[in-house]
Amino acid sequence: MLQSLFDGILVGSILSLGAIGLTLIMHILRFANFSHAELISMGAYFTLTLDAVFTAFSRALASKLPMLSVSISLLLAMLAALLITGIAAAIIDRLVFKRLREQAGPLTMVFASFGIGLIIRNVIGLVYGLKSVHYNNDIAFAIMISSDPLLLVKADQLFILALTLLVMVSLHLFMSRTSVGFALKAISENPVLAQINGINLASMVRLAWLLGGALAAVAGVCYALNNQLSPVMGRDLVLSLFAAAIVGGIGSIYGAALGGLIVGLASSLALLVIPTGYKPAIPFLIILLVLYLRPNGLFGEER
């Protein structure tokens, strides 16, 4: 039970990062982006490549942080990957979604996002191989925090929790203290009003993609540290991300963060009573439940 709670919070915090970007785009551009989860895979794999490049450049960078399987070069790689993934997200928007927005309705963007997801997923498979890999092959030992109730925790997992917390606090400060943060919040609450208050829609859309891509990249690295890298890691997460965004109410950044934790916890706790094979279906049940009971999400405003 305690172990399930811990695992749920861990997975939930990763989902939160992914869901924040998803909910922003889903609200500002009015479409469910099914390729958002592929940004998670891209971030994770970009980090893998850059880590190898940095390590080749200087062996010193390969030294591990105390207790962790995370090296300095992996951290640097993640920082660079976060930027690259954000830019990649903005480029995909520029090449595909922006043109479809101008020509057709939001559902055409949903349609295209499925196609883009399929392409990215399989290009990753071609480039990196279909097998799962790890950032490093050392076996990370779990520390027994408590034996009854059982709680096993790896140092890497604590690192993930700290990292996600750090990212979310920074995001909160950005959104609540800076005028660019206000502007982003404003554009997602009411695009017309934001524009007549001098906010440029196109530049905020770009910012939302950059931010969404960067957060997804961090989520990808955390997920890969906790599990492994695989070309289908994004696809396996996409429904949970939507569940988190819907639970939190579309457009609410704080809702998405909480929604991620709720979905992570619910999935983890549900496995105490449901056979493991049904795990992929749990987010769907959560979505259906929320849509029937509270279509605006738990924290969303009636609009």
């Binding site: 295209a112 499925f114 399929l118 695009p191 429904l239 992929p280």
Partner: protein
């Protein structure tokens, strides 16, 4: 010679079976503007439903009611319809992309069910031992396959005629009104949610028919037949053919299925042994590219929709300064 005819009959049978699902999607997406993200689930419901109802007795699980074939077929279709009703009731009143999310979720839930609920679906091995109708009576396998092809052709024709009648009826105009402009539809005194739900359920039942015929043809069904790529293939068929045009849907099916089978054959022939594993990835990229590039450059497909009625404009379609506050 008989080999080629036999292969052609096989190719056409599968293509025609898929054409029924594409026609069902055309009713949902092409005519009504509903995005179905989990076609494979409705296809699978029809397939499993049919085999469970019409198949032989099972020692290790539910099913095997050995119903007569027409009843089993109808049962499979009804199961797809029921599934669509459950999803549709939750979503057709809400934001339009919620249907996409919910249907995508249905497909994933369906896959979990197929793989794990051994008592119901036979798990990974699927359901075997289905007796194809009249097979013993015909005897000759080649003749039977030809006969089955004509049966499928008959089904496609009936579905086609049904849909053509439907879309040219007042209800068809209502569908397009809902697709183009919610307010216009409401002003006709109809509930857009009810119209959307009806179209969604009918479309899903056609996908169920397609799945049931597929399972009949192979005489068994397993999770391997219901891979997520099927949904993408059916989308590609519709968008290539021209959404909103039933003739286009059938033509698109033949073209894309031909390209799929052809590319698979070609890749297997030219790829070195150690790369054979990746031919699937290349084919998937192909399907994804067909979808994205068609949407960008040829959104109206090979045979564009012919609009007989006045087309209502979308309210501010994708305009950058669109007021997005109105959740429907």
């Amino acid at each position: 010679m008989i080999g080629i005819i036999s292969y052609l009959a096989f190719f056409l049978t599968i293509a025609l079976i898929l054409a029924i699902a594409v026609l069902g999607l055309n009713l949902q997406w092409g005519h009504t503007g509903l995005f179905n993200g989990g076609i494979v689930a409705f296809f699978g419901a029809g397939a499993y439903g049919m085999v469970l109802l019409g198949g032989p007795d099972r020692v290790d699980g539910l099913g095997g009611f050995s119903l007569s074939y027409p009843l089993a077929l109808l049962g499979g279709i009804a199961l797809s319809g029921l599934l669509a009703l459950i999803v549709g009731l939750a979503t057709t009143r809400l934001r339009h992309d919620y249907l996409a999310i919910a249907t995508f979720g249905v497909a994933i839930a369906m896959e979990s069910l197929m793989r794990n609920a051994t008592w119901l679906t036979g798990g990974a091995t699927g359901l075997r031992g289905f007796e194809r109708p009249l097979e013993a009576f015909v005897g000759n396998a080649f003749a039977y396959n030809l006969l089955f092809m004509f049966f499928v052709l008959l089904c496609v024709s009936l579905v086609y005629l049904f849909l053509e009648t439907l879309v040219h009826s007042p209800f068809g105009r209502l569908l397009r009104a809902v697709r183009e402009n919610e307010r216009a539809a409401r002003s006709l005194g109809k509930s857009p949610a009810a119209v959307r739900l009806t179209a969604f359920v009918i479309g899903a039942m056609l996908m169920g028919l397609s799945g049931a015929l597929y399972a009949t043809f192979y005489a068994f069904i397993s999770p391997q037949d219901l891979a997520p790529i099927l949904t993408f293939q059916i989308w590609a068929m519709l968008i290539v053919g021209g959404s909103g045009n039933n003739k286009g849907a059938v033509v698109g099916t033949l073209v894309v299925w031909g390209a799929w089978v052809g590319s698979g054959w070609l890749l297997t022939a030219i790829a070195p042994t150690h790369l054979q594993l990746y031919t699937g990835s290349i084919q998937y990229i192909l399907v994804g590219s067909i979808i994205v590039f068609s949407l960008l450059w040829r959104p109206r497909g090979l045979l564009p929709e012919k609009l007989s009625t006045h087309s209502y404009p979308l309210p501010e379609p994708g305009a950058p300064n669109q007021q997005t506050g109105s959740a429907s």
